[in-house]
C-alpha cells in the first residue's frame, strides 16, 4: 500500500527534504512529497481497500494505492 499526502495538503516533510537537496548538489528537483509504504501478506486482497480507508490511510488528507505482488512466497521471500 502506497499512502501519499493528498494533492494540496501541506507536506512539511517533503518541503524539508526538498530544501536540503541543493546543498547536496541535487539540482532541478521539485514537488518532493513524502508518504508511507505498508507491506503485508494476505489471503484476501479484496479487503485491502477497506483496510486502507479505515486504518492505514486517512482519506481526508491521504490518497492510497494498492500494489499486488502475486509472486511473493509468503515466507519473507523477495519479489522477482
Amino acid at each position: 500500500m502506497l499512502i501519499r499526502p493528498k494533492e494540496g495538503i501541506l507536506d512539511p516533510q517533503g518541503k524539508a527534504v526538498e530544501r536540503a537537496l541543493p546543498a547536496l548538489g541535487f539540482e532541478g528537483i521539485h514537488d518532493v512529497r513524502v508518504g508511507r509504504l505498508v507491506e503485508l501478506e494476505t489471503d484476501d486482497p479484496a479487503k485491502l481497500d477497506s483496510l486502507c480507508e479505515k486504518l492505514l490511510a486517512n482519506p481526508l488528507i491521504e490518497d492510497f494505492e494498492i500494489v499486488l505482488d502475486e509472486g511473493s512466497s509468503g515466507n519473507g521471500g523477495s519479489p522477482p
Binding site: I9, L10, P12, Q13, A16, L55, L56, I61
Partner: protein
C-alpha cells in the same frame, strides 16, 4: 463523575484528573473498559496513545473504550478531547477535520493566546465569545485541516470553538483554528492543554472554565 481515558502512551491523564477534581469528581477509565455507566462526562487526554504509530490517534480510535465513548457521544454525553485526544476524536470521526504535522516540523511547547468564538454546545457555557485565554500548547502534529467547503459549513453553524490569537498560530492550522466542536456541540477538541492552565502559580488558570463546563454539562440521554 468525569471519566478520563487512559491509553498505553497517554501522559496527561493525571493532570486532567487533577484539573477536574478542582471543580468536581473524576476517575481514570482504562482503554479496555467498555462500561461507562456512572460516567457523566469524558475526557480523552493528551499524550502519545499507542506510540502515535501510523498517525496520531489512528489506533486509539479502535480501542474498546473509544467504541464506548462513540456511543456515549451519540447519546449526547459531553466529551472533551485535548491534544492527542483531539487527534483521536478526529480519527474516530466524532469531530470534523484532521491534524497534520506542524508546518515547521518542530515539536512546539509554549504558552499561546486563544480567542473563544461564538460556538455552540455545553462547553460554551463558561466562556464568552471573544474572551481571550492563555493556555499552553505542546505538540508536533497540531496543524488543523479540513476542506474549505466543510470549514464554511462549520463557521456557519458555530463549530469553530477557539482560534489562536493573531500572531499566535504555532503550527500552520487553517484559519488559525485551535479547537472545534461536532454539530451537536457536545463533543469538543482542542490542541492547547487547558489541564495545564488551572492554577495562577503556573501562569494561568484560564483552562478551568472548560472543566467547569464539562462538570456542569447536561447528561447523556439514558441509553
Amino acid at each position: 463523575m468525569i471519566g478520563v481515558l487512559q491509553f498505553p502512551g497517554s501522559c496527561d491523564e493525571r493532570d486532567a484528573l487533577g484539573a477536574v477534581r478542582r471543580v468536581g469528581e473524576a476517575r481514570l477509565v482504562w482503554h479496555e473498559e467498555t462500561d461507562l455507566s456512572g460516567i457523566d462526562g469524558v475526557i480523552v487526554p493528551g499524550g502519545f496513545s499507542y506510540g502515535d504509530y501510523l498517525r496520531a490517534g489512528a489506533i486509539a480510535r479502535f480501542s474498546p473504550a473509544m467504541e464506548a465513548v462513540a456511543r456515549f457521544a451519540a447519546d449526547g454525553g459531553p466529551v472533551l478531547g485535548i491534544c492527542n485526544g483531539f487527534q483521536v476524536l478526529c480519527e474516530a470521526g466524532l469531530l470534523p477535520g484532521a491534524l497534520l504535522p506542524n508546518e515547521g516540523l518542530r515539536f512546539i511547547c509554549r504558552q499561546v493566546e486563544l480567542v473563544a468564538e461564538d460556538f455552540r454546545g455545553p462547553f460554551a457555557s463558561e466562556i464568552g465569545a471573544g474572551e481571550r485565554l492563555s493556555i499552553p500548547v505542546k505538540h508536533v502534529s497540531g496543524c488543523y485541516f479540513a476542506p474549505d467547503e466543510q470549514l464554511e459549513a462549520m463557521e456557519a453553524t458555530g463549530q469553530i470553538a477557539f482560534r489562536y490569537a493573531r500572531g499566535h498560530n504555532p503550527n500552520g492550522s487553517v484559519r488559525d483554528i485551535a479547537g472545534v466542536t461536532n454539530e451537536a456541540g457536545n463533543v469538543i477538541g482542542l490542541m492547547p492543554h487547558p489541564e495545564h492552565a488551572v492554577d495562577p502559580l503556573t501562569g494561568s488558570d484560564d483552562g478551568l472554565a472548560l472543566f467547569r463546563a464539562l462538570v456542569a454539562a447536561p447528561q447523556a440521554a439514558a441509553a
